[in-house]
Symmetry: C2
């Protein structure tokens, strides 16, 4: 299967060269993320694409991840800070529009979502939304690798600073994980030559 090759090709890049990822490729990666399955289908996260070098520099200051400043692009996965009645309404409207059906046809589903999501705490909904973003991260890693774009998934960043500099709070979002895009500087990245270390499959899969 081609996917196994793709997954073996990728690694978490520490050192990028200065080549820029084309807009076309970035668009394909975000399109793939947008097609990712999420619980209930509500897609409770958004992607911010950053390629402004000044902004990247500010975002990366103080982080041990130099990739934040040095990569060609940065994808910021930002999850809903809560799930509101308006978020559900907007999701139902969009679904009805795409499927060319009246919104009322989705009333039962809407009620179900309201009961399920609005009875949880803000923290529970944010934690749940974050997990959905991580499914998207799985897709993004594969999409980029299929396009031979290198990546680094990162949790080690200053969430509060990201939220502030990207105006996420006003959008009801909080940054949860980031993915840098670019091209590996294989000669200067010691990790590029390391053998991928994974669990033996018979220990990873348990019975």
């Amino acid at each position: 299967m081609k996917l196994l090759e793709t997954l073996n090709w990728r690694y978490a890049v520490k050192k990028y060269n200065t080549e820029t990822v084309s807009t076309d490729k970035v668009d394909k990666i975000t399109a793939a993320i947008n097609l990712t399955a999420t619980s209930t289908g509500i897609q409770p996260f958004r992607i911010v694409v950053v390629s402004d070098k000044e902004l990247q520099k500010k975002l990366g200051e103080g982080s041990f991840n130099s990739q934040i400043a040095e990569a060609s692009h940065l994808l910021v996965f930002a999850a809903f800070d809560n799930v509101t009645k308006e978020r559900i309404e907007s999701f139902i409207q969009n679904t009805a529009k795409v499927r060319e059906i009246p919104e009322e046809a989705l009333d039962e589903y809407k009620n179900l979502l309201e009961t399920y999501l609005l009875n949880r705490t803000e923290e529970e909904n944010f934690s749940w939304a974050s997990k959905q973003a991580y499914i998207g991260l799985g897709t993004a890693l594969i999409a980029a690798a299929e396009l031979e774009v290198d990546t680094t998934p990162m949790e080690g960043f200053d969430n509060a600073k990201f939220d502030k500099l990207l105006n996420l709070k006003q959008k009801g979002l909080k940054s949860v994980v980031i993915l840098s895009l670019g091209y590996r500087d294989a000669e200067n990245d010691v990790f590029s030559k390391m053998k991928k270390a994974r669990m033996p499959i018979d220990e990873f899969v348990i019975s």
Copy 2:
């Protein structure tokens, strides 16, 4: 890009036919999940493959997801209930073995992981481990679709019952999300004909 087609092909199946997914395909899907990136590389989750119909029936009792009982296979993503010194030790040992280097060469990384992970609460580590499992779910959805195996990702199941019937507690694991595998019964699954509803890309990607 082939991946966009693959992602468009898949949907969350409600009704499976009775065809069984081959062991070869299940093995490829779990191999792909095992290759998924995780924070720090520690892979803080495991996969349980269930295909015993009696067990599936028990696991699915009382759930609104009939797929639990009816699918060909069930992949249970089970995250570390905590991250312990032993978990870190075992990860370091495996990495050294795969890379054919002495364990001591990883001492600095081991110390870093201990500082980072052992100072968090059990809840924080479990939540973090769960998120890593969701990256794997993203991979699994794509791996299955590439093999034209249908899937249903599900959070709606009785975690406590799963943990008990699969003896997860003894293994330091807790079930977090499940994925059924099988083949769609397109004629009897009303969802098989629905248009995939996703956010307009210019609303999903924000600036």
